[in-house]
């Protein structure tokens, strides 16, 4: 079995950059509950690929700008 991925996200930062978009607005755009956005920001939930794309669409950015594979980042830093 492969090593567990450590996936972090920039949702809080992207919301701030999008004119302080509220969690409720993002939840409505992504089609999930506000609690799910709260859990995502707190790193308590890793979304499905579909939801990850929907969140990236809500910010109009590529998925890689929203979700980051920390292990991969470390690999590239070497």
């Amino acid at each position: 079995m492969g090593k567990k991925l450590i996936i972090t996200n920039n949702i809080r930062k992207l919301r701030f950059n999008m004119n302080e978009m509220t969690q409720l607005e993002l939840a409505e755009k992504a089609g999930v509950s506000r609690q799910t956005i709260v859990a995502l920001e707190a790193g308590k939930y890793s979304p499905s690929l579909e939801l990850a794309f929907r969140i990236a669409d809500a910010f109009s950015v590529p998925i890689g700008d929203v979700f980051i594979n920390e292990r991969k980042e470390k690999y590239y830093d070497k």
């Binding site: 409720l24 409505e28 509950s33 506000r34 609690q35 799910t36 939930y45 890793s46």
Partner: protein
Amino acid sequence: MTVKSKRTITSMLVSTILLIAYIAFALKKYSSGQESLKTWAITILIFIGITVVAQIIIQILYHIVFAIGIAVKERECNEKNIDRTISSSMVEDEMDKLISLKSTNISFIFAGIGFLAYLVLLAFGGPAVLALHILFGSFLTGVIAAGGVSVYFYERGIQNG
């Protein structure tokens, strides 16, 4: 604590109170010597009906209290924003489905163990009424345990895969 955790805890509390009430009622009835399987089956069916009705009433009350809570907390918001907050909190999304899947697994484990105990008891000539109650108790315990698991995942978080 999230809205969904609170809703689950409310539901669990109702189930637990009804289970305790049933145990008290059943012990009293059992000691009075009524042991007909048919009578117990009718009693359990009535109890299930009461549980369903109680859960519906509690959920309606919970929604009303939640709506009032939002309205009080966000006094400056208009009605439309309050509606948005409530409907966004009640949406069932992929995280809810994942948690529901995990908690249902737990309730199946309880129900499975209960069913095995039921069969073993009957196989060894145990009283049918007791076997019926073991089966019923395992289902109810499973439902309460599933609620506990849901709250755990809502609070601690859950990962796909």
